[in-house]
Amino acid sequence: MQTKKITSKRASQSVFFILFRLMSYLVVGILFCIIGFIVIRGIGVINWEFLSTAPRDGMTKGGIFPAIIGTCYLVIGSMIVAFPIGVMSGIYMNEYATNKQIVRVIRVMTNNLGGIPSIVFGLFGMSLFVNRLHFGDSILAGSFTLGLLALPLIIRVTEEALKSIPDTYRQGSLALGATKLRTIRSVVLPAAFPNIMTGLILSIGRVSGETAPILFTCAAYFLPHLPTSIFDQAMALPYHLYVIATSGTDLEATRPMAYGTALVLIVIVLIMNLLANVIRRRFSK
């Protein structure tokens, strides 16, 4: 009797474990199928011409150079907007704020901002930056919109990074007569720097793949020349992929271009994650 119960217990355990194992393999398999599919279809398209020339012949030939440049501008612009504010906000929350209630409110607000869908950022950006502030459809408006979207991630990472610095560092510095600001600048920030950098890199990965926020604030379907000022529109990789995947005149002919663009987007995310991991590992010793 006793042994029977035990074997049934064992049996149900092995049934469930096998089930979970299979489901996990399936999920991981599906996720890798997606990557594999795009890599296999896209790898043949990518060559120097694809990366260095503009699209030609109704997007069926040529490359994605203007979209790469546009995405670079947007990434740089949005980081100029978001990075300083995000880091300072993180410093305030971890080093200065003494009122726990305020910190809680800010943290809840930051999480909420992180949960707002990207299309809502697009609406807001269009209303405030494009129309109210008269930036027009421009890199400037797109950068502000994307910067806002990246802000919660940067704040969260900065706060975590600062939290991991032991208090003895700060006390040591203060005991030597350094002011609070001096302590933060010369002791806390350098120690937290690698982790803050990983936050920057991860948000670059995030920003470079966002489409919805730039739909109405910056992105152009096709531009014959590269943007020359921050008030110009720009092409961008994710929007370019959306356009050539859904609204070309000859969808079959633009497919290879779409695979190539999708692969470039995936590779950007991959590189950013690897970079973040390398930095984290190198400095965590």
Partner: protein, 401 residues
Amino acid sequence: MFKKKNNRFGETIVEWIFRLSGGATTLAILLISIFLFTEGWGLFKSSTVEKGYVLCVNRSNKIKNLSPKQIKEIFDGNITSWKEVGGENIPIVPIRMDDIMAKYTDEEIGANYEHLPEKLSEAVVNSKGALAFFPEQFITIQFQGRVLPAQNITPKEYFGGKEWFPTATPAAQFGVLPLILGTLWVSIAAILLAVPFGLAVAIYLSEIANGKVRKIVKPLIELLAGIPSVVYGFFGLIVIVPLVRSIFHLPVGETAFAGALVLAIMALPTIITVAEDAMRTTPRAMKESSLALGATHWQTIYKVVIPYASSGIMAAIVLGIGRAIGETMAVLMVTGNAAIIPHTLLEPVRTIPATIAAELGESAVGSVQYQALFMLGAILFVMTLGISIWAEIIRKEPRLE
């Protein structure tokens, strides 16, 4: 001495800059809600009838006003008697500008439309059941019909309306019900698909798999959370949509189900990571005491680990829902975007984010459609804000002992 003072002054300034930055996210949330609602609220101050046009009836007609839905049904020919909209039992004769232009020759109307106002007046006077849709500029003092007073779009029509035809004339239809239902159908189906698999993977990674597998698989899954949604949408368009079409023998594969599949795949990394993190916080002592009492590993998992991590698991599910509701590009690419109330998952649907993305580019700034889309954004904002706060509360709940 002087230098020190100067320094302290500088410190105070910098501290205030930090303080101000701390308020950045709060300010952003406030600004977003203010802008969405002010732009969107204009909708309820806009006329139901297309701008620059008026609706006119015969003077004998006692009807006071018509809702946008009634106007549309009349001009579509679905309502044919005034009785159905609260008037006398007379057949409705809808008159559009085109009808007048076709009825008379160019000379009768005049080269500069100088005779048009009388012709319009005539048409309304001659027919007792007339409902005419004319440009305002041609309604002069001599007009013998009665102009229906301008009606504003009401919140009730907006939130309870079952039709979304933003460009319909004479009266555009802004009923958000099909869009809200479309969003919920797709998101809920996605979550129902994703949660069992997500939890299975989380349990496998945190409890069953050995450390080496976990060390490799976990970062890879986190990496997948970073892949842009437009790439998932592209994959869905190329692979999942044709697959859905051939499996269910449908005329088109762009359906709610295809959207749900793509969203489920996209929500998986979030659910797995958050749930796995929660399960791993279970104290070792708790698990060991369960095993010491003779429970099997599986019993320990579902009687100790899962209850302990339940708030984290719930938070994972809620965050997954939030991500699914707000997802724009992938859904836009695979759900077919038909603004009708879905009856099965195998029909095309249109979600709120996809509607905004598809229509905002075509609507003029400040137009009624523009305002209606901002109101949609406000609805979405409130929905996701509620979900974020919900997740926050769940996480804060005291753990089971």
